[in-house]
Amino acid sequence: MPSTTTEPMIRAAHLHKRFGDHEVLKGVSLEIGKGEVIAVIGPSGSGKSTFLRCLNQLERIDRGEIVIEGETLVTTDANGHCRYAPDKEARRICAKMGMVFQHFNLFPHLSVLGNLIEAPMTVKGLSREASVPVAEELLRKVGLFAKCDAYPSQLSGGQKQRVAIARALAMAPDIMLFDEPTSALDPELTGEVLRTMRQLADEHMTMLVVTHEMAFARDVSTRTVFMDGGDIVEAGAPGDLFGNPQQPRTQAFLNHMR
């Protein structure tokens, strides 16, 4: 195994996943380097969300290998059997990745601040005194410090998603995964969320973003990946992929989006 400096942040190799008779992922491979911002685009049902969810074990793959920062989350042995790291180990590896969901999934019974300090306190065992300043700083960063004591139900969709981003960041992840973070938002609210994400990208956070926002993919991503039918059809610099797509399926999708 090469040293960690050459090891990518995420290495996914030949991921296979099926739901019943439907094969959702047909051998997806992708490597993500430090500081890369990868946008994954594609029609719905292309497997892009499933791919993302496999990386942090929200879905379990049937075959393939996932290595996070040099540590193997899952691998497939010679007999084709998937072998996941032991539960505790797998949780530790997955904790390197923060995740933002389409439907926010904030904890409704906790205040905004409570949402941010919950995991640092229960998972990392930090004291309240140690967690609160970090949480407050993150809320300032996403422009919601004034909402510290509010409950999620009192926030707009855009504010909820910014809290969700701050909550993920509170665990100090090395990688951020976004699963269609603006798809559940009213159009006028997507801007504030995309701005927050752009800010993260500017700070060189490693990001993997499944999105329908073509402008975000084109302007912010360092590499855009087009998925269709359970596999990666084409990937490249956004300028190339959007300006001069090579594959007919990519061309058709981009034409359709325009």
């Binding site: 942090n56 074990q57 929200l58 949780r91 530790r92 997955c94 904790a95 990745m97 923060g98 995740m99 969901f101 439907h103 999934n105 904030l106 904890f107 409704p108 019974h109 919950e118 995991a119 229960t122 998972v123 409950y151 999620p152 139900s153 909550r167 993920a168 665990m171």
Partner: protein, 217 residues
């Protein structure tokens, strides 16, 4: 009025018995019900099925029969057979019975919390136990308050069943006086006592609901 004051003594003694059965049942059946609900929802199929069978048995037979069985028949059961005095026998029957109902309420409450909450907790690195304790159960509490209010009010009135073990609860005390004095006034007073107890419970649950109303799901 003098008559009512006169019968107050025995009726209050009866109320004390009623409240003891009520309190002991609540304190013991809630944790047992929660444990049953968690086993019912666990991945261990055999244990889950066993709990389902237990709930069926407890909800499917009369509480009075269960109480009579524990008091009169349990002593003759091989191995586990023990003879319990009347109060413990009543408590065991009430706890076993009510835990089954509570388990179903808890199960419904836990299952009403969406999958997204589990996923959010998981990606933050929380274990199953941490997720349950910190994220799911606190949300369950808010959702089960209305059915729990129902069930505890039913429990207050169900305590009158202990008369079959010849225990002097509120209703039996009232009946004793009715038969002695040939007046139905003690029934009226007993009804007022039950109403006061259920009113206090209703008020308590309303306060709890108000407390949990600070957030919406």
């Amino acid at each position: 009025m003098d008559y009512i004051l006169n019968i107050m003594g025995p009726l209050l003694e009866g109320t004390a018995v009623t409240l003891q059965v009520f309190g002991a049942t609540l304190v013991l059946a809630v944790p047992l019900g929660l444990a049953l609900a968690l086993i019912r929802l666990s991945r261990f199929r055999a244990a889950s099925t066993a709990v389902a069978g237990y709930v069926w048995l407890m909800r499917g037979t009369p509480l009075m029969l269960q109480m009579l069985f524990i008091y009169f028949a349990l002593p003759f059961v091989p191995v586990i057979g023990i003879r319990l005095p009347d109060f413990p026998a009543a408590i065991v029957a009430f706890v076993l019975n009510y835990a089954a109902y509570f388990a179903e309420i808890f199960r419904a409450g836990i299952q009403s919390v969406g999958r997204g909450q589990y996923e959010a907790a998981q990606v933050l690195g929380m274990s199953r136990a941490q997720t349950m304790r910190r994220i799911i159960l606190p949300q369950m509490v808010k959702r089960i308050l209305p059915p729990m209010s129902n069930e505890t009010i039913t429990l207050v009135k169900d305590t009158s069943l202990i008369y079959v073990l010849a225990m002097n609860d509120l209703l039996r005390a009232a009946r004793g006086i009715v038969q002695r004095d040939f007046t139905t006034m003690p029934f009226v007073v007993a009804a007022a006592f039950y109403l006061v107890m259920t009113l206090l419970l209703t008020w308590g649950f309303m306060r709890l609901e108000k407390k949990y109303a600070v957030y919406d799901d």
